[in-house]
């Protein structure tokens, strides 16, 4: 390899994208070529600086929020067309011209009917793929009693992070909040033990998991 060929693969060399044979070739070349050695060190320095850019952690509830959004869209979809038609029909200019409005509304219905007939794949996607959020409730959620529900919830979020779990969903319940947590089996025991930091814990030996094996915790006000 000459200098130009080596310079072209210096990035690959530094990021483990080369075959063993090419790695040896680059090493041997750089050992005897000051210009390529200088380029290699400069590139290494640049990459080290570039790697300082670390995005902030994303929300532990992100995954659950995607599924919630999908569920919402799925349940809203059939109603949306009808709702939009009603909203359109109730616009003042159409009330003033009811016959014209009715005619256009009828046309929209015809177009939708034809569209659905011509696009069975889209329809199947919506109809056949089951809801991503099918929840079989936990029989006996873990109950944490505390004076400060939102403070305990903040602490719980930190505990979930510390034990490398993730929050699947949360919802308000009477007198508090229910939180569903996905936890790694190896870390589950320690995570459960750590819940005592949040308040007084009432936990049955079983029944605190939902149908997906997620831990369900209810934080209640004392």
């Amino acid at each position: 390899m000459d200098c130009n060929e080596v310079k072209e693969i210096l990035y690959d060399y530094l990021t483990d994208r080369l075959s063993k044979e090419d790695i040896q070739t680059v090493k041997a070349h750089v050992a005897t070529c000051k210009s390529c050695e200088k380029d290699l060190e400069e590139l290494r320095g640049t990459l080290t600086i570039l790697d300082k850019w670390k995005p902030p952690e994303f929300s532990p509830a992100f995954r659950a929020s995607v599924l919630e959004a999908l569920e919402e869209r799925r349940s809203r979809k059939p109603a949306t067309v009808v709702k939009r038609m009603i909203e359109w029909f109730l616009q003042p200019q159409h009330l003033k011209r009811p016959l014209q409005g009715l005619a256009v509304a009828a046309m929209v219905l015809v177009v939708i009917t034809i569209y659905r007939g011509l696009n069975p794949v889209e329809d199947r996607t919506i109809r056949d793929v089951p809801s991503p959020v099918i929840v079989i409730e936990a029989k006996e959620p873990i109950v944490i009693e505390t004076d400060d529900v939102s403070g305990a919830f903040d602490k719980l979020k930190r505990l979930i992070e510390v034990h490398q779990g993730s929050m699947v969903r949360r919802r308000p319940v009477e007198g508090g909040m229910e939180v569903t947590i996905k936890s790694d089996k190896d870390k589950e025991e320690k995570f459960l033990e750590s819940l005592t930091q949040l308040g007084s814990v009432k936990k049955e030996t079983e029944g605190f998991k939902d149908g997906d094996g997620n831990i369900v915790v209810t934080i209640m006000k004392n």
């Binding site: 640049t46 990459l47 600086i49 850019w53 995005p55 994303f58 995954r63 089951p130």
Partner: protein, 189 residues
């Protein structure tokens, strides 16, 4: 991406297509972090990046039936995420405005003007400077850098995401890195 990862992804995609929504959860767990990181580096704002990543996954779920080659899910998903981010950037609501300057002249050069460089260093930490300088690259160089360097994608996968030849991926990466080498030179000492 290792062959085993491609195999696992392909299997999950097929299961989602067969109506197994649980498999989509598993796909999410594999790709959520990298898609979020990519969106963040495009948009610079955590909340906007989460919105964009969420939007990308929703589109992917809804359009899964149109994915012809299941083994190409990863580049396909990144391509969707990139489009969502580009739409967001076009709307111009949620991203950080960077100074309009695409030349190296405005960047303090440690050798030529150490005082100015020191000032600049003091004003921003290294991470901030990297964000600023990567952000100043044009999108075509930035996309390649984000995918190849920050996400560790192969040249082939990157070419698929951006729908460009592999040779173009290599040349854009080299050009982007060369520009950054010059712009970040004063930090290397």
């Amino acid at each position: 991406m290792e062959p085993a990862d491609v195999e696992r992804t392909t299997e999950l995609v097929q299961r989602v297509k067969d109506g197994n929504a649980r498999a989509f959860w598993d796909l999410l767990s594999i790709y959520e972090e990298m898609i979020y990181r990519f969106c963040y580096r495009k948009l610079y704002v955590k909340e906007a990046a989460e919105d964009a990543a969420r939007g990308a996954f929703i589109k992917a779920f809804e359009k899964m039936g149109t994915l012809k080659d299941d083994s190409k899910f990863k580049p396909w998903l990144f391509s969707i995420a990139r489009n969502v981010c580009m739409d967001e950037l076009k709307r111009g609501k949620k991203f950080v405005e960077l100074p309009e300057d695409d030349t190296m002249d405005a960047i303090p050069n440690g050798k030529a003007n150490p005082e100015q460089a020191l000032d600049h260093k003091q004003r921003m930490n290294v991470e901030g400077i990297v964000m600023e300088q990567v952000g100043k690259l044009s999108e075509k160089y930035k996309d390649v850098l984000l995918l190849v360097h920050y996400e560790g994608m192969s040249y082939e996968e990157t070419a698929q995401v951006l729908n460009i030849p592999i040779g173009t991926v290599r040349s854009r990466l080299a050009r982007g890195l060369e520009t950054l080498r010059g712009r970040l030179e004063y930090l290397r000492s």
